[in-house]
């Protein structure tokens, strides 16, 4: 897309009058009826499981210590896709570069959890519960983010969805949430029409069940099945230019786009991808990290293109449980570290900027003498999206025990 939405919105409507093939939201804007989809805002959360190496993803190429600490796995200055003279993207992320240029992509560096754990399991748990250090929290913050929200007249069964075979911690809680592994198999008996009575029987069985856990999930499931059937998302084809790569993550995002475009009332969604735990032979411009980053970036870029004008109401946030050691280890890899990088994409995002305070990589600046220090609590980043985008003002309930005042936001949403 040559003109970006933002430029258009800022420069006024007249510039595009008479231009053919406009995204519909632009014509809405031109009509003066722009209401940026009140009630249609959605938040998509992406988890990079396994502790992605933020220092090789958004590279501090203006930092000499970066190169001295990573003699064999650094991203050379001439290979980095420079962003602002100090930071640059890993070259495998080229597909997201246009979004940065269009200012739809923002970055927060040195973000993370204040908890010192370097256990994948615990750190993921804390990031999903939204309560670092507190294991007793039973629900996830993305579920709570819906909790106090004024609901539309009719609650959609697809209000909260996770793409994958199980419902992650981040979405568990009192608000109904569904896990969708594959929308084509999402039903009883598949395409077999004779299975309808069986499906009905199962539905009644779970509806009447006294097993509270299975009863609840069963009801949510059958509601979602019915909704999906009536929306008939199988007519979907990806938008032109949305080149989804092969792979599970890409498929997840494609199915998510399908559900969003079928107008199923998705408000929060979650997808994840693993393969970031590079203790050995991490690689530099090529190799393991390049491969997984390419998958990550191309999938997100295709998703963005596919959403078309619906991207205007969408905010996508990425996170990973912690970063990796500032120094490379003895095997051309990195071990478990602390702070990391987060990406935020979306129509309302004030992109083209790296947010957060950079703590530096000199020995004295490192956390415990080995890792990038956290200067932005991940809850501050997420809190802003929940508050400004989802319009849930009760942040004390979404992130209990954390002071999350709007005036301390990074203001990447305005």
């Amino acid at each position: 897309m040559s003109i970006t939405r933002r430029i258009f919105l800022r420069n006024g409507a007249l510039a595009v009058v008479g231009t053919a093939a406009l995204p519909s939201f632009l014509t809405r804007a031109a009509d003066g009826a722009l209401s940026l989809g009140r009630g249609n805002q959605r938040l998509v959360v992406i988890f990079q499981r396994g502790a992605a190496d933020g220092l090789n993803i958004v590279v501090p190429h203006g930092e000499p210590a970066y190169y001295s600490m990573r003699p064999s796995i650094n991203i050379p200055r001439n290979a980095v896709l420079d962003l602002d003279g100090f930071f640059g993207l890993h070259p495998a992320m080229a597909s997201l570069r246009p979004l940065w240029n269009q200012r739809h992509l923002a970055i927060v560096h040195a973000a993370g959890s204040p908890d010192p754990t370097r256990s994948h399991f615990d750190a993921q748990d804390f990031m999903e519960s939204g309560t670092p250090g507190v294991k007793a929290t039973e629900d996830g913050w993305l579920n709570r983010a819906l909790h106090a929200l004024p609901t539309p007249d009719e609650k959609s069964a697809f209000r909260a969805i996770a793409l994958g075979p199980s419902l992650p911690r981040i979405l568990s809680g009192s608000e109904p949430a569904v896990a969708v592994n594959n929308i084509h198999d999402f039903g009883v008996g598949g395409r077999n029409a004779n299975a309808a009575p069986m499906a009905n029987t199962f539905e009644a069985m779970y509806e009447h069940s006294l097993d509270s856990v299975l009863h609840g999930t069963g009801q949510e499931t059958f509601e979602a099945v019915k909704m999906l059937k009536s929306a008939n998302p199988s007519q979907y084809t990806p938008a032109p230019g949305a080149d989804y790569p092969r792979g599970r993550f890409s498929e997840s995002l494609q199915q998510l786009a399908q559900l969003i475009k079928a107008n199923l009332g998705v408000e929060v969604a979650f997808a994840d991808l693993g393969g970031w735990d590079h203790h050995v032979n991490e690689g530099s411009t090529q190799g393991q990290i390049a491969n997984v980053l390419r998958d990550f970036s191309q999938s997100l870029s295709a998703f963005w293109t596919d959403l078309g004008d619906l991207a205007e109401d969408t905010v996508i946030v990425t996170m990973s449980e912690f970063g990796r050691t500032a120094r490379e280890n003895g095997n051309r890899g990195t071990d478990h570290g602390h702070a990391n990088v987060m990406f935020i994409m979306g129509g309302p995002v004030k992109g083209g900027k790296v947010y957060g305070r950079w703590p530096g990589l000199e020995q004295s600046q490192l956390y415990e003498g080995r890792d990038l220090a956290v200067t932005t609590d991940f809850r501050r980043v997420l809190g802003e999206a929940v508050y400004e985008h989802l319009r849930n003002k009760s942040l004390d309930r979404v992130f209990p025990g954390f002071e999350n005042k709007p005036d301390a936001f990074l203001k990447y949403l305005g």
């Binding site: 994958g164 592994n181 069986m198 097993d211 050995v280 095997n331 051309r332």
Partner: protein
């Protein structure tokens, strides 16, 4: 007080029994076990649900008649249980009995093919093996040519002619050729299908490697395999992807063991420990190493001493590779400092240490392994967090680094060729280490053994392991008092796993009414218990394998070292429930390929009316533990003609047994054990 509680518990059990009886055993009340009292049947159901992968037809009666306690003792001593039938089923899977080197040789990984291509290794003479190598060699050459073409076209000043600057992608001609080859392969497959199996195999081996590969990928591949001996099947599979043979035989065997093994507790515990010391089979040479890991490391210690099990995993090439310890080098070791190899201290020192491999096969470490330069703390951390102490077990980052220093030099002899454990002195970090406050004096390999011993006997370990066992066998929130008693047994009996289990199995908490059918089954437990309950005959376990993949529980396929969750919240969600209902219907209707189910057999000589059929199936598949709600829902649906298959003109037509069985297997009740 306690007396009072027990009384209530007893009353509850009786009440539940009575309720179940009203619906399911109304005609079989007199079948109660005469010797061991009315409780025994229910106790048998509970014990079978927890100690096995689910009861098979007749199991409940058998265990109740034997006496539940006696049966538990049997299960705790698997060596006394005859497992001949299972062994016969597993006999065709040759890879299960092969050593790692043999696996790599018979089912060559890319490195092996490269060695043959470069003339460093000889081509095997056996025709079947040869066919496998030939096909892989050709694949390898093709890949190299493509690479060469690509790199020469990338250089504009290349001396090559204009042709070489063309794009490396397949042109129209190439596409047409591929299409033709595929068409030909499909035709050829049709021809081959008419031949008797032996002739068919002979013909296949005569074909060119190219043709063989096309054939192995053709749509008739499964039919082509029919009637072939397992070894012939293996060859055909290996032509396309040799490594896959090893992995799929292991996965199939795991399912067959769970379904048909008589030593059920042993299988459950092997699964438990594998998951505890999890390894992802998709990581490089672990594709070959996991077969031996489960067979030689996990299984022999499943009911043994924890310390032995821990030490065996620590030394296993599979774990050393998976958690990267084989590459970890002490920063001040001779190896890292580039100190040249010293002359052996005493004549024969190295030979005694590494009798088979010195000096010829020792890799020139310095030159070859540029990636080994320093510490890797991956294993050190997971050893304490996941294998022993637990994340809150009282260790620090400092301890992680120190443990990593202790285990430097614990490495593998040529992992890609299936070599074993080796302690490499030159990679080992010299000097004292301090682990959890203990000073570990320099003594090479023995430092690691000392640390394993400290960890294996640590109170945090006792508690962590006991909690996890109780989570598997008792409930998602195991009673702390029970965990404490198990941990005490663990410490008192030197980590004797059998004793810890015994403490648990004979505890009142294990038998408390609120634990009965409270555990939600994992996908593996669900699929296997359904197959067992129906008494199905599994000819091909691969469809079950695929089911587990889509349910989010690929066997040996958990990438992070945490292993799979055993808690309900992980496995109860929309996607999973639909998957379970669909599998239940497919299984009972005989729609799962390779699995023969005859629900009528389960039924026995039940009355042929709908209600009688339902009651009999509830009894057979769920020991009658079907709620009133579920029972009535199904009963109501029996009037639906599509389910009952009854027609007005044919009232005698029997009810749809398969359909009802599917509904029961997909019911909320069957999701718990």
């Amino acid at each position: 007080m306690r007396f009072y509680q027990r009384k209530i518990a007893l009353l509850l059990i009786l009440l539940t029994l009575l309720m179940a009886g009203v619906f399911a055993f109304s005609k079989k009340k007199d079948k109660k076990d005469p010797v061991n009292g009315p409780d025994e049947r229910k106790r048998a159901v509970h014990a079978l649900n927890r100690l096995t992968f689910g009861p098979r037809p007749g199991d409940v009666e058998r265990v109740a008649a034997m006496g539940v306690d006696k049966w538990i003792e049997f299960e705790l001593h698997p060596d006394k249980i005859d497992d001949g039938a299972l062994e016969a089923r597993l006999a065709p899977f040759r890879t299960l009995r092969m050593g790692t080197q043999q696996l790599a040789e018979n089912f060559p990984p890319p490195e092996m093919i490269k060695a043959v291509a470069e003339g460093k290794q000889r081509m095997p003479s056996d025709p079947a093996k040869r066919a496998v190598y030939q096909a892989q060699l050709e694949k390898y050459q093709e890949k190299r040519e493509r690479k060469l073409a690509a790199s020469s076209s990338a250089r504009p000043d290349s001396a090559a002619s204009g042709e070489a600057t063309k794009k490396p992608e397949p042109g129209d001609d190439e596409m047409a050729r591929q299409r033709e080859a595929k068409l030909y392969a499909d035709l050829k497959a049709q021809e081959l299908l008419d031949l008797p199996p032996d002739e068919r195999m002979k013909e296949i081996l005569k074909m060119s490697p190219d043709e063989q590969r096309e054939l192995a990928r053709s749509k008739d591949r499964d039919d082509l395999m029919e009637g072939l001996s397992p070894q012939q099947k293996e060859t055909l599979m290996a032509i396309n992807n040799p490594q896959q043979v090893v992995v799929s035989e292991l996965i199939e065997a795991k399912l067959l063991r769970a379904i048909y093994g008589e030593r059920q507790l042993d299988e459950v515990m092997t699964d438990f420990w594998f998951n505890h010391f999890n390894i992802f089979i998709g990581k490089g040479p672990d594709r070959y190493l996991v077969t031996s890991y489960e067979r030689d490391v996990i299984r022999p210690h499943a009911l043994g001493k924890f310390e032995d099990l821990l030490a065996a995993t620590a030394k296993s090439p599979a774990m050393l590779f998976y958690l990267d310890n084989w590459l970890s080098v002490g920063p001040d070791s001779d190896f890292a400092l580039g100190v040249p190899k010293r002359v052996p201290r005493r004549p024969g020192y190295y030979r005694r240490r590494f009798p088979n491999n010195l000096p010829k096969e020792r890799p020139p470490l310095q030159a070859k392994n540029k990636q080994r330069r320093g510490l890797n703390e991956n294993y050190g951390r997971e050893l304490m967090e996941l294998h022993t102490l637990g994340v809150n077990g009282g260790y620090t980052q400092r301890d992680v680094t120190e443990v990593a220093r202790v285990f430097t030099g614990w490495t593998i002899e040529q992992p890609k060729k299936g070599g074993g454990f080796r302690f490499e002195e030159r990679m080992h970090e010299p000097g004292n280490k301090i682990v959890l406050g203990h000073r570990i004096k320099p003594k090479g390999e023995k430092e690691g053994m000392e640390v394993l011993r400290i960890l294996a006997r640590h109170p945090s370990t006792a508690k962590f392991i006991s909690t996890k066992l109780a989570l598997r066998f008792v409930s998602d929130n195991p009673p702390p008092a029970l965990v404490d008693r198990m941990a005490q047994t663990f410490l008192k009996k030197d980590g004797d796993i059998r004793e810890v289990l015994r403490t648990m199995f004979y505890s009142p908490e294990f038998w408390a009414p609120d634990t009965y059918r409270v555990k939600v089954k994992t996908p593996l437990e669900f699929v296997v218990s359904a197959v067992r309950a129906t008494g199905a005959e599994v000819q091909d376990a691969m469809p079950l394998v695929r089911t587990l993949n889509t349910m989010g529980m690929p066997l040996y396929g958990m990438q992070p070292p945490t292993g799979y969750s055993m808690k309900a919240d992980t496995w109860v969600n929309s996607s999973a429930l639909l998957g379970r209902m669909n599998f239940a219907l497919a299984l009972s209707n005989g729609k799962v390929k390779g699995i023969g189910v005859e629900p009528d057999h389960v039924l026995g000589s039940a009355p042929s009316d709908a209600e009688g059929t339902l009651a009999a199936l509830e009894n057979a598949l769920l020991a009658g533990d079907v709620s009133k709600q579920t029972h009535e829902t199904i009963l109501k649906q029996l009037d639906e003609p599509q389910i009952s298959k009854r027609r007005l003109d044919d009232p005698a037509r029997p009810p749809d047994v398969a359909g009802i069985a599917g509904l029961i297997l997909g019911s909320p009740e069957f999701q718990r054990r």
